[in-house]
């Protein structure tokens, strides 16, 4: 944190493969604090994997990641990834939150309990305070009246709102959104995207959003990354990428998704 010259998130030469399949092939990326970044690209291009590596759900083989001046993944002399000691790993993970495509709510807990469980047991917030705060987050996502409901009683859109409130309740500095509208009925997508845009405008978190909604990426984000075959092929302002992409691959991708 003391090094002001260092970007908030710094990713260097990140590699990840599953067996023979190379999913990330050298990702280099700097993200300043508070930026809202949309990540687009064909499926299998590594977008979700990057988020999963940042959330520590997957371990990279090579390359490093620094968050707020601290190493999430260190690098040895050969460039291989080194994990930090477990306590530091866990401390850093507290600063990162994630929302998933399939919500992953805890089905045996009420909506409010879903939101308060981690603040109470991970951060040590007193239960009453966590409840008050949880209700505030539920209100923010428009679900204050569903606090006592169970996930099975909610629509997909409502589930995703709860998942967002649950992640927000941990006060993450970085929030990762992994195709969070892909499992929703079409008529529910707009509301979730509006909520995302609203969160982005508050500039309280650095946001990485993997999305298939080009209009959202274009209109709501500060920056767009185009992933192709495990590398970031294009990186720039939404206006530039959508109107005058540098690469033929980007043009083809945009043409194919915008035509549908």
């Amino acid at each position: 944190m003391n090094n002001t010259a260092e970007p908030f998130i710094q990713i260097r030469n990140l590699h990840k493969s599953y067996g023979d399949l190379k999913v990330l092939r050298g990702i280099n990326l700097d993200i300043p604090l508070g930026e809202m970044v949309s990540v687009i690209g064909p499926s299998g291009s590594g977008k979700s994997t990057l988020l999963r590596v940042l959330m520590t759900l997957e371990r990279p083989e090579r390359g490093g990641v620094r968050v707020g001046g601290e190493a999430l993944y260190d690098v040895n002399a050969e460039g291989g990834t080194v994990l930090p000691p477990p306590d530091r790993f866990r401390a850093l993970r507290n600063r990162i939150g994630m929302v998933f495509q399939h919500f992953n709510l805890f089905p045996h807990m009420s909506v409010l309990r879903n939101v308060t469980e981690a603040p109470v047991h991970v951060l040590g917030v007193p239960r009453e305070k966590a409840k008050a705060e949880g209700l505030r987050y539920l209100d923010e996502v428009g679900l204050a009246d569903k606090a006592d409901a169970y996930p099975a009683q909610l629509s997909g859109g409502q589930k995703q709102r709860v998942a967002i409130a649950r992640a927000l309740a941990m006060h993450p500095e970085i929030m990762l959104f992994d195709e969070i509208t892909s499992a929703l009925d079409p008529e529910l997508v707009g509301g979730i995207l509006d909520l995302l845009a609203r969160l982005g405008k508050k500039r309280e978190m650095t946001m990485l959003i993997v999305t298939h909604h080009m209009r959202f990426a274009e209109q709501s984000s500060d920056r767009v990354l185009f992933f192709d075959d495990g590398v970031i092929l294009e990186d720039g302002k939404p206006g530039d990428i959508f109107t005058q992409p540098e690469h033929e691959r980007t043009r083809n991708f945009l043409r194919s998704v915008l035509e549908i």
Partner: protein
């Protein structure tokens, strides 16, 4: 006594109270044995999942060893061999331990199936929210793993109940022992006590099967 009668109601009614008394031992062995198996099974399931290879391997072999050898031999071993090493308990305590440990191995597999049925996304959400491994397992995963395997656990409960007559081999005065050694060998009439033992087992099995189905349905409604 009329030796020509196949079934003597008077005699049957006479021995029934003694059998019901023995039934209490049988039920106690089942309930306590199942309690042990629920705890022991969870312990073995956790051991099996350990990230330390030696522990996980130990869990695997304990489960395989217990499941691969007959309960009767295990009981004989605990009752007749362990005292040679200075380990000696009452027949009932030895029986409980034997039943509990034997069914722990089966329950470990039941837990494993339940744990495997919890979607991967639940573990991932737990990582994203930075829950400790212990809390993830006990408060997030286990409560979801148990309801789907209640029928399987219930089947083992009934199976264990029906295995309790094996305890007669180590002189626990449960139903079979009472019918055979306390009653039958005194009077040399086996048909009434043995039939009653069978009927009692059947009755309790049917009742518990119903109870398990009810519990199952209640669990389904909750989710």
């Amino acid at each position: 006594m009329d030796g020509e009668t196949l079934w003597d109601w008077g005699y049957a009614l006479e021995v029934l109270p003694q059998l019901l008394q023995a039934m209490r031992i049988t039920l106690m062995a089942t309930v306590c044995g199942m309690g042990l198996a629920l705890v022991g099974g969870l312990f073995l399931a956790i051991l099996r999942r350990s990230r330390i290879p030696a522990l996980s391997r130990a869990g695997f072999w304990i489960i395989e060893f217990i499941r691969g050898t007959p309960l009767l031999i295990q009981l004989y071993f605990y009752f007749y061999v362990l005292p040679d090493f200075g380990i000696r308990f009452s027949p009932f305590a030895t029986g409980l331990f034997g039943l509990g440990l034997h069914y722990s191995a089966y329950m470990a597999e039941v837990y494993r199936a339940g744990i495997d049925s919890v979607p991967k996304g639940q573990w991932e959400a737990a990582v994203a929210l930075n829950f400790s491994r212990r809390r993830t397992f006990f408060t997030l995963i286990l409560p979801q793993a148990v309801p789907p395997v209640i029928p399987a656990a219930g089947n083992y409960l009934v199976a264990m109940f029906k295995d309790t007559p094996l305890l007669s081999a180590i002189t626990v005065a449960e139903l079979l022992y009472t019918a055979k050694d306390d009653i039958g060998s005194q009077t040399f009439r086996y048909i009434e006590p043995m039939t009653l033992v069978g009927v009692l087992f059947l009755a309790v099995s049917l009742i518990s099967a119903r109870g398990i189905r009810g519990l199952e349905r209640k669990m389904e409604l909750k989710t």
